[in-house]
Each structure stands twice: as C-alpha cells, then as structure tokens.
C-alpha cells in the first residue's frame, strides 16, 4: 500500500460525474494480519448475516469461511469473535476537524483517532476552518498533513464560495482536480439563489457533490434552539423548522432546474423530510443525511440548557424525530452522519445563548443509534449499519464491504456491552458530547481502516492469541 494514499480504497466514479478525483488520505500504517474467529458477520449490502471466521492478510479480506473452519496461520493475531459482531466499518461524510486554525478544538490526529474509536474507517472534513478550505494551496497542505497524521483515511470538502461569504465561487475545478471530496459552505447556507445556481451549473465542469447546510438566516434570526413550547418556556429565541425546509425546497427546485446533484446535510425537521421525499419522487438528484443526535434526542433534552446540546440545526420535537426515523426506514434519508463538531471546554462553559453550536459525535454514533433505535425495536440493526456505512458511497468515495478481496474496512462490536459516555474520557480533543453521562449499549472493540488496525479497545489486546 502506498505510504501516503490508501491504495486499497476504491473510488468508483459516480455515474455522470465529471473528473472524479476525490481523495482519501491517511498516515502510513502497517497492514493488518488478523483472524476474527467465530464472529457474527453482518453486511447489509451483501446480505451476509451469520457466524464466520474472517481472515485478513496484508490488509485485505483473504477468506471468509464457516465459523471454526479456518486454521490460524502462525503470523496472524487471532481475535475471539464469539458473542461479537463484525460490520463493514462506518464512514462519515460530515465531520469538523477544525484544522487549520482551531487546533485547540481538534486536529487531524485527534479527530481521526476519535473516528477510529467510533468504528469509522473514513471521514470527510468540512471546510469552515480558519482559513477556509477555499483554495488549492490550503487543500493541498491539508492533504499533505493528513498523509502524516491521519489515523483513518480522511477527505476534505472545499468551500462553494470564497471565505464562505456566499458571493464568489471558489476555483472548484482546480480544487476538485486536487482531490476535494465535494463542495459545501457548511455552517452557513448559500443564501443568494443566483450564486447557488451558478455553483450548480459549474458542477458540470468541476464535478463533486454540493453538500448543503440549509437554513434561511432571516427566519433563524438569533435563535439558539428549536422554536416551540420549550423555547418559549425558557425564553430562548427559537429557530423554526421552516427555516430549514424552505431552503431545502428552494435548492431542490434549483437542482432539478439545472439537473445537478446535491446532498442535504443534517436534516432535523419533519417538514424537511417531506420536502425531500417529494423531490426524490420527482427524480431530483438529491441525497441527505441525519445525525445520531437528531435521531435520538429532542428539545425536551435542552430544558437544562446544557450547552453540549446546543447545535445547528437544533434538536427538534418528538414528531420531527419520528419523521427522521421514518425517513431512514423508507429510504428518504440515505445515511447517518455525525456532524462531529468539537469545541473547547471554556468555549462551551458559558450561558446557553452565548455558546457555540455543535456536539462531538464520532465516538458515540453507533452506540447512540443502537441504544435508542435498534434496542427498542424502532429500526433493524442491519438498516442502521447500512446507513452508517453509506455516506461516502453517496459522494462516489467508498462503500466498505465485507467480501473476499476487498480491503479490510471492519468494525468489531460488542452489542451487549454498556458504557457511560465520557466516563473514561474521549479520544477527541474536545469533550462537548451531547450524550455525556448517558449509559449506552454497544461498544466498538476494534476498527480496521483501509487494511490497518486503527483502534482497539483494551480488552481486545488481552484476548488476542
């Protein structure tokens, strides 16, 4: 495997997408030789669902056979899979790595370590850094740094507009040629419809999906949480659900008009799910994501004004949460993305209205979804795994698969293990996790990313033969 660029990673060119050169990059790592013995393999795409031995040689899945049938070669580490599950490792098209410029919140090493601990084999960072990732030199420098520091493969989206100011397009073709995973002004909407339309048109040249943070700033105002009975009770200005859904409706209409490809980030409202369902039925090339926190928490959880639960879009009402779950079930929502957004402790240790928006999420995504969606029976495990592993396929980057000959992108999970979030700290540099203090069920034990062991929980070392 190439030292700088994970050669195992297949980047299938998305149909109709010009110049797909999106890159995932990570630091050199030793290719894994592992035998996962008697593990329950679940790959929703291949349909594999049962106990198997899985042999990884030199970072590739070399053999998948009946449990107990593979004799361990002498030079592999044997992991007891009994009572444990093996999934394709997760991927996340939406994280904030805060580099360059805000390394006190997160850097490439801590962010990708956090991802590995959450079972992720690849993530995509957002460009709202300081400076913004809006030019080739900045993106190039970041990819170079990732080739030294990233523990799991990482890609980067570049900005749609320079400085995220919403007025001038970035040099999208050059950025794409250098490896931008797509384009987004995440953290802000592209307010000017004319500018956005030009970005959609320019996609024909540059390629790359346009990933959209949707809200109308004139409707969001100074809102700090979901507008409803609870914001009224707390006296905190609200962000109405329609602030999101009207922009999604606008952008779906524009994408349809220009026959362009868009991806809607972090859906939060019932109205938004309805808009996208309708757009998809019309044939608009739109995909979308929902975050674990929007799928598992509501504005009721904001009552204590804990700033870790302040994020944008805000936690909404129970009907919104139910609509998101239904959206996953019926396919309207394509993937689960964390919007991992680290902030330093002192930045969050202020009154709620003053606090920056965002929660970390990489280390809790699977456990939160498992605990609140799978265990109570709202969604099947296979569906949650599928949605946690599909986010990079949507942008033509990577679909981790458990099959012979594939690069090893694997996560080993103990579904029964309970743990208290934050009790033994975080791998992320920041600790602003909205699930802090909650007992979650389902623990990541081992992550193999692009053929290399990226994370192992302590107990796994002990049981290795």
């Amino acid at each position: 495997m190439s030292a700088a660029y994970g050669s195992h990673i297949k980047t299938p060119a998305a149909a109709g997408e010009a110049g797909n050169s999106a890159r995932l990059v990570r630091a050199p790592a030793r290719a894994a030789d592992l035998l996962l013995r008697g593990v329950h393999v679940l790959d929703p795409r291949t349909g594999l669902d049962g106990a198997r031995d899985v042999l990884v040689r030199d970072g590739e899945i070399a053999q998948i056979a009946a449990a107990g049938s593979i004799r361990s070669p002498t030079d592999v580490e044997v992991v007891d899979g009994d009572g444990r599950h093996l999934f394709p490792a997760f991927v996340d098209p939406h994280v904030h790595l805060r580099t360059p410029g805000q390394e006190h919140k997160e850097d490439l090493e801590t962010g990708t370590r956090s991802a590995a601990a959450g079972g992720y084999c690849a993530i995509v960072g957002m460009p709202n850094t300081s400076p913004t990732i809006d030019s080739a030199p900045i993106l190039g420098a970041l990819l170079d740094a990732a080739a030294r520091e990233a523990r799991v493969p990482v890609g980067f989206m570049a900005a749609i507009t320079r400085g995220l100011h919403g007025s001038e397009l970035t040099e999208m073709a050059e950025l794409r040629a250098l490896g931008a995973a797509g384009f987004t002004d995440d953290g802000r909407p592209v307010v000017d419809a004319g500018v956005f339309r030009r970005a959609l048109q320019y996609q024909r040249l540059a390629g790359g999906v346009l990933a959209l943070h949707e809200e109308d700033p004139s409707l969001s105002g100074r809102g700090a949480m979901h507008e409803g009975a609870i914001s009224t009770e707390l006296g905190v200005a609200g962000i109405p659900s329609v602030s999101e859904s009207v922009m999604i409706a606008r952008d779906c209409a524009l994408a349809e008009w220009e026959d362009a490809r868009i991806h809607i980030q972090h859906l939060s409202a019932r109205e938004s799910v309805d808009v996208i369902r309708t757009a998809k039925a019309r044939g608009v090339q739109v995909t979308c994501e929902a975050s674990p926190h929007h799928l598992t928490m509501t504005d009721e959880d904001v009552r204590g004004l804990d700033t870790r639960r302040k994020m944008n879009p805000p936690l909404r009402g129970e009907p919104d949460r139910q609509a998101l779950i239904e959206g996953l079930r019926d396919g309207t929502i394509d993937c689960i993305a964390t919007d991992h957004a680290p902030h330093a402790r002192d930045e969050k240790e202020v009154p709620f209205e003053q606090a920056p928006m965002g929660t970390t999420g990489l280390e809790t995504a699977f456990a939160a979804c498992h605990t609140d969606l799978v265990v109570p029976g709202h969604l099947p495990l296979a569906l949650v795994v599928e949605k946690l592993t599909s986010g990079l396929g949507l942008i033509g980057l990577l679909v981790p698969t458990i099959a012979t000959g594939e690069p090893a992108n694997l996560v080993l999970v103990d579904l029964a293990a309970e743990w208290v979030v934050g009790e033994s700290g975080y791998e992320s540099r920041s600790e602003n996790c909205c699930f802090a203090g909650r007992t979650l069920q389902g623990r990541v034990l081992l992550t193999v990313a692009d053929g290399a062991v990226a994370y192992r929980e302590r107990s796994i070392m002990l049981s290795a033969a």
């Binding site: 409803g228 009224t232 009770e233 707390l234 700033t307 002192d346 202020v350 009154p351």
Partner: protein, 313 residues
Amino acid sequence: MRHLLSIADLTRDDIERILDRAAAFAEVSDRDIKKVPALRGRTVLNLFYEASTRTRSSFELAAKRLSADVVNFAASGSSVEKGESLKDTVLTLTAHSPDAIVIRSPYAGAANLVAGWTTAAIVNAGDGKHEHPTQALLDVYTLRQKLGSLQGRNIWIVGDVAHSRVARSNILAFRMMGADVTVCGPPTLIPRGIEAFGCEVRYDLGDLRDADVVYALRMQNERMDEAFVPSLREYAANYQINGRRLGPRQVLMHPGPVNRGVELSGEVVDSPQAVITMQVKAGVVVRMAVLYEVLAGARDARPAPRPAEPQLA
C-alpha cells in the same frame, strides 16, 4: 431553600412562606431606624450584567435593612469589559466568600450556571428573557395586599410577551396562586406555544373588561428596530391601556420603567387603579424575605455545595 433561580422551582407553599415573611419585614421599612440584625455579618454581592436601577437598588436596600454587607459589581468598568468570562468572574468573586450572589444577566440560565460554580446562595435577578422571579414574587405580594387572594382572579398580561422575563415568571406565579391568566399582544410578540403555560392568548383588548388585574409590559424601543410592530403609534392604538379601556375597579400593574404614551397613557399611570409605586415598595420587603430565605431561612436544611465540576455549562 438554597437558591432562588426560577418561579418554576417553587411551590405555592414556598411562595406563601416568603410573602408572609415579607409582610413581617414590611414593618421594618416603616420605622425611623430601618434596620434589623437578621443577616449581620453576611455578605451579599450584586453582580449585574445589565443596566438596572430599581432592581439593583432594591436588592441593595433589602440587604442593608437586614444588616448585611453589600458589594455592587457592575459589568461596565470592571474586568468583564476586559474580556473576563462569566465563570472566571464568578470564581474570582467567590474567593471573597460572599454568602449570596444576586445576579442579573442578559442570558437565559445564567443564574443556574453560576449556582454550579460557587458555594454562595444565588438569587436570580433576571436571566435573559427567561425569568425574573423576585419581580413575580413582589407582584403577587402587591396583589395579595390589594385583593386579599389571587384565587379565581382574572389577570391580563398585555404587551411584548415574547421578550419578557417578567411575563414568564408572572404567568407561572399567578397560575400557581390560583389566578386565570390571559396574555394579549401583537401576534409578532406572542411566542409560539405560550399556551403550554396554561394561559389564554388574545390578540386584541376586546374582552379586557373581564380582567380583575391588567398587567402592562414595557414596550422596548429596540423592538421597533427589529420590525416586530410597524410603529409605536399603531402599537399604542391597539394595545395601550388608557382611560377608555381601563375600568374603575380594575387594578393596573407595570414592572417599570413606564413609557408614558406607549403602553400606558399618562392618565392611567396617575390613576388610583395603578399600584405601580406599591410594587416598587413591595420590591424591598420581598427581596428582604428572599435574602433571608436563602441565607437564614432553611439554614439547617442547607445541603452541601454542589461538586466542583458542574454540568459543562
């Protein structure tokens, strides 16, 4: 009671106990020597992050009449202007071992937050648009004096409900004391879901005559800049409490300071129905009772301070 953070934390019994004690303190304010030694040797720190004349001086008087030492800390002219965070300010001031901190902040939840950072008793003197619990207590005190009981009384709160911490605390307190509450104002200033407080919502004053008490809120000029209403003239035309609208047996309240000619006409401010100066006077005795309550009232039952690490903000 360890802190007074919000009306929502209180029971009807709590309110009655505090107001009964306020009534006992009222006699002190009428003496020539307006002082009792109830809190001698205690230190009360006023920490005000917003301009306030009446609330701050009312707390200061209340503390002094109970013989406590008072330190005023205003945000302007202090380390806050030099960029110190709320937490650092509170930790610094806590090093002086205050027994109580009275805090006003432009942000909801600030008083709760501070309660986790200090061993002092915290009294919320207004947190953003969330609550202003001592205002509600003094308003209930005033109405008890005027009407005897609030049970079954019909109270209209008129004006900018959306941006009013007074409205939130008062709706809760009036409801708790058995009153029926109606809020009335321009639709742009009535927040979504306010009915969850158990009050009725009206957008015009047509049925104002049903009210026993009319509580007018202050209309802030900055709301004009944000275009919540087209003009003060139109606001006054629709929502001003004036001699034509106010009945002779209705009680008129206002948290002050009054914009004469906007939410109230000059004639009703000066009318016998208005109890605005009674409210101000009640402010001191009720705050005496509140300080006594948190510093001496439940002294034996006071729990240990919260652990050093609060919720992460």
